[in-house]
Amino acid sequence: MGAHAHAAHADHGAAHHEHHHHEESFISKYVFSQDHKMISKQFLVTAIIMAVVAVMMSIFFRLQLAWPGEGFAITNFFLGDKWAPNGVLDSNMYLGLVTIHGTIMVFFVLTGGLSGTFANLLIPFQVGARDMASGFLNMLSYWFFLVSSVLMIASLFVEGGPASAGWTIYPPLSALPQAIPGSGTGMTLWLCSMAVFIVSALLGGLNYVVTVLNMRTKGMKMTRMPLTVWALLITAVLGILSFPVLLSAALLLLMDRGLGTSFYLSEIHIGGEALDNMGGSPILFQHLFWFLGHPEVYIVLLPALGITSEIIATNARKPIFGYRAMIGSILAIGFLSFIVWGHHMFVTGMNPFLGSVFVVTTLLIAIPSAVKVFNYITTLWKGNIVMTPAMLFSIGLVATFIAGGLTGIILADSALDIPVHDTYFVVAHFHIVMGMSAIFGMFAGIYHWFPRMYGKMMNTRMGYVHFWVTFICAFGVFFPMHFIGLAGAPRRYYDYTAFPMFDNVIDLNVVVTLFAITGALAQVIFIYNFFYSVFRGPAAVQNPWRSNTLEWTSPVKHMHGNWPGKIPEVYRWPYDYSKPGKAEDFVPQNVPHTDGEEESHG
């Protein structure tokens, strides 16, 4: 198949070549671009803007949690007198902010932003393809993403406020505007935005899978693919299989809201009247939601793990330890992620036996995860570690993956889940293991591939400051939350002062908020560094990190088709770092074996 694809490719490439000489207009180059590199940059910048919004929201509600009932000029400045009279956050808006913060972070930053950026950038480059299988669908994928982002932001400004039923939007709360003002227009926009987002994710995902399977260059066997591509491939498969289920859940919810159906509603008396709805089940929604929701965790996490596998090997100047085991664990995690969703529902009254099954499947995931951690650590062992900012963030990812993964074992154990379910313990757990790990992976990827994306270098010193402040603050914010949760404090509470039992631990909320503000400010350094370097950064060389993968064989200046001549042929796996008998400590994939050299594999 490899040779076949290659032949097809060469033709395609030649055709592209002639095409290339046309001068492109601004619109087709920067706006309606079908080039994977430009689309990747579009995803990244959109995600950065969305992330800024989500981080600012978190600061507003962290201020309220640390100093409940106190007014803050900044809160009032951004939210106005309606939602923050005298700077005191309104309790409905508090829930709205919590909801939209979660939604934006999970879907727009860590799914759209992370997969969208790096799958687009790396898949064609690293498998040796001139572009995605369908540039047009790829362009549509970005534009649907942008439309859904705009819809989500627009929902902040409607009467009644944005959706505020939590990012998991459980009905009946999300179905009935009588229950909470955010379940009016705000929720309708939320659902429409997500529907459009899902279209974007599916168009992107199909493209990624087809490109990886059909468009690899000659010699690029599946077992010679970089782990980034493996991770992005499995991520795309997870998305394709699980997002349609969320779409159907959202459509059914829209029908319950607008057309009087009863998929999720039954025997409800609210706002002084009994509703007509009979026979539905709110638990059905939870099953559908988490059937996406759990794979979603790995849709967020796997690309980050793929990115750091690549970066750790490159910068430790060592092959990734256990390459095949790493692929195996990605596959195992991907498969298992589909049969664990019930662990979010241990206390919903779901059949306890079913709960036990989910306990077993969930804890099984810990095995491939542990394998990954040990393989990372062994890769560092006796390496020759170059401390680039990307490498620091990758090491940071391993640390957060350990800290957050271990507490997951408590939550996966249905019996132990009972006292900590829906408390701050959960908030701490998923922010560390999913939020921090994924965002560290994303930062690592940005620092590492910035020269590839923009042909410029980011400032290393600012990168160091950014990493260390972010790293310290990540633990400063989320570590104390475990203790708040173990004291029994529920999540999504606007104020804890009504409960004397929390007086002992609630001073930790001040610690958390101070770290959160510092951590948020550290991101200003990153944003400055990013945009300054895009325009004024020093020019990059072709292969700054002395890396093996194919993207570094393409010229610094972007061009249609990625390679001026033939697509490079691949002769070896991507991890020949410090291979004995070689003059350099890296051997790129397109370098043939010398006489008598044995092909290495993990």
């Binding site: 009905p171 009994a274 009254g349 620091l392 640390a399 009972i418 606007y494 930790l508 400010l521």
Partner: protein, 428 residues
């Protein structure tokens, strides 16, 4: 003014950092240094930071443990909670070992093996034995966790023995109500269509059905009259609205008539054993008492949306799902008084809180729970049994005044023989 100053300081700080980076950038440009070339000094510095961070990380962790581990939840006040606490402890031991082992290796290696030009990284692409070892080792740990966990889970979720006393916990935005079964020991049937001011839980009795039907009939007649009166001059959409309302009221009446038939048939078949005959002596009350050392089945029901009954001191939690009942079984083991002694806090109360996001006042949907000795509990029940659901108008139901509740329990402590005298809630 203060905020302005703070913002100014923040802005200056950011400018300072970026300017320092600029200066560094320009000087390194002058020295001909490139961004991707990490200097030996930088490698060494970051490597040292890895070790320093690891120490700080552990220090922070131990400080949190030292400062807060005795401020978390007190000893469990339920039978299964003790098991869960032990299990949690076992898990923590396993997880702490893993935590320190992996983090120490990670940060030690990251700090030790920083780049040196004359060193070559070890060529070590794989080792099947090692990989097998760290696939099997976690699997063994996990087996312990799964087996012990599932054993506890099975016991906690096992169906209670028949005849276990039932108390209903009813949640709505944003408060809790309890229903005790009354003299017959059985909770009566409910239907959400019967809910009105006099029947907040929708208990089904012949009288409540009749009253609700009469109420709806009045509403129906009034609506029909408005349609008739406004047929000529009301705008079309207002008329449509009225007609819809009329339709809805009629449908509801039909369903309640069906319910009445069902009730009558069931009572005819099962006589006193029918759940439709059990409602009139139920007690609807905004106080929550349970006896110590007795297993109880909390029957959970929601009026509007999903709530969650969270009893952190008992390590117990279960959602309330509209349209389907859920059950939470537990055995309290420590009375409120004893817990006050344990915590050396005479103000202490067990608390029931909502733990599933349910709207603007979710954060304050709470109710105190009183655990008392058998004698005191029986006296309290005898007292509330005097005001059953039927025969006690809503206005005279015991008030939901938190202070009265705690006052009466304090007095029970002092003189349990005089319980009957003092437990009578205020308002009488």
């Amino acid at each position: 003014m203060m905020t302005l100053l703070v913002l100014l300081v923040i802005a200056l700080g950011i400018i300072a950092v970026t300017q320092m980076a600029r200066v560094y950038e320009i000087t390194s440009k002058l020295r001909g240094k490139r961004e991707e070339e990490i200097s030996p000094a930088d490698n060494r510095m970051n490597a040292k930071f890895m070790w320093i961070f690891c120490v700080l990380y552990y220090a922070f962790f131990f400080w949190l443990l030292y400062a807060y581990s005795d401020k978390l939840l007190p000893v469990s006040a339920s039978e299964h909670g003790v098991v869960l606490d032990d299990l949690m402890y076992l898990n923590w031991v396993i997880l702490f070992i893993m935590f320190f082992f992996t983090n120490t290796l990670l940060f030690y290696f990251a700090g030790k093996y920083y780049y040196k030009k004359d060193r070559v990284a070890k060529w070590y692409p794989h080792n099947n034995k090692l990989e097998l070892a760290w696939t099997i080792a976690p699997a063994l740990f996990l087996a312990v966790i799964v087996i012990t966990g599932l054993k506890a889970w099975q016991d906690i979720t096992a169906v209670a023995a028949p005849g276990t006393p039932e108390v209903e916990l009813y949640g709505k935005q944003f408060d809790w109500t309890c229903r005790y079964p009354g003299k017959d020991g059985q909770l009566g049937a409910t239907d959400f269509r019967l809910i009105n001011d006099n029947n907040p839980l929708g208990i089904v009795t012949a009288a409540s059905v009749a009253a609700r039907l009469a109420e709806l009939q009045t509403e129906k007649d009034a609506t029909a009259k408005s349609i008739e009166a406004g047929y000529d001059h009301l705008p079309a959409d207002a008329l449509t609205k009225l007609e819809h309302h009329l339709g809805k009221v009629s449908r509801m009446m039909d369903r309640i008539v069906n319910l009445r038939t069902m009730m009558e048939q069931d009572i005819a078949a099962n006589k006193e054993g029918s759940k439709y005959a059990a409602g009139s002596d139920d007690i609807v009350i905004k106080e929550f008492h349970l006896p110590v050392n007795e297993e109880v089945n909390l029957v959970l029901r929601s009026r509007d949306i999903i709530h969650s009954a969270f009893l952190p001191h008992f390590r117990a939690q279960m959602n309330l799902v509209p349209g389907q009942g859920t059950v939470l079984k537990m055995t309290p083991t420590i009375t409120t008084d004893s817990m006050r002694d344990i915590m050396a806090n005479p103000e202490f109360n067990y608390i029931l809180m909502c733990n599933k996001i349910c709207g603007a006042s979710h954060y304050n949907m709470q109710m105190d729970l009183v655990i008392e000795k058998k004698g005191a509990y029986d006296a309290w029940v005898a007292e509330i049994n005097k005001k059953p659901f039927e025969g006690a108008p809503a206005a005279e139901l015991p008030a939901a005044d938190g202070t009265v509740v705690s006052d009466s329990t304090v007095q029970i402590v002092k003189d349990s023989t005089a319980v009957a005298a003092v437990v009578t809630p205020a308002g009488h």
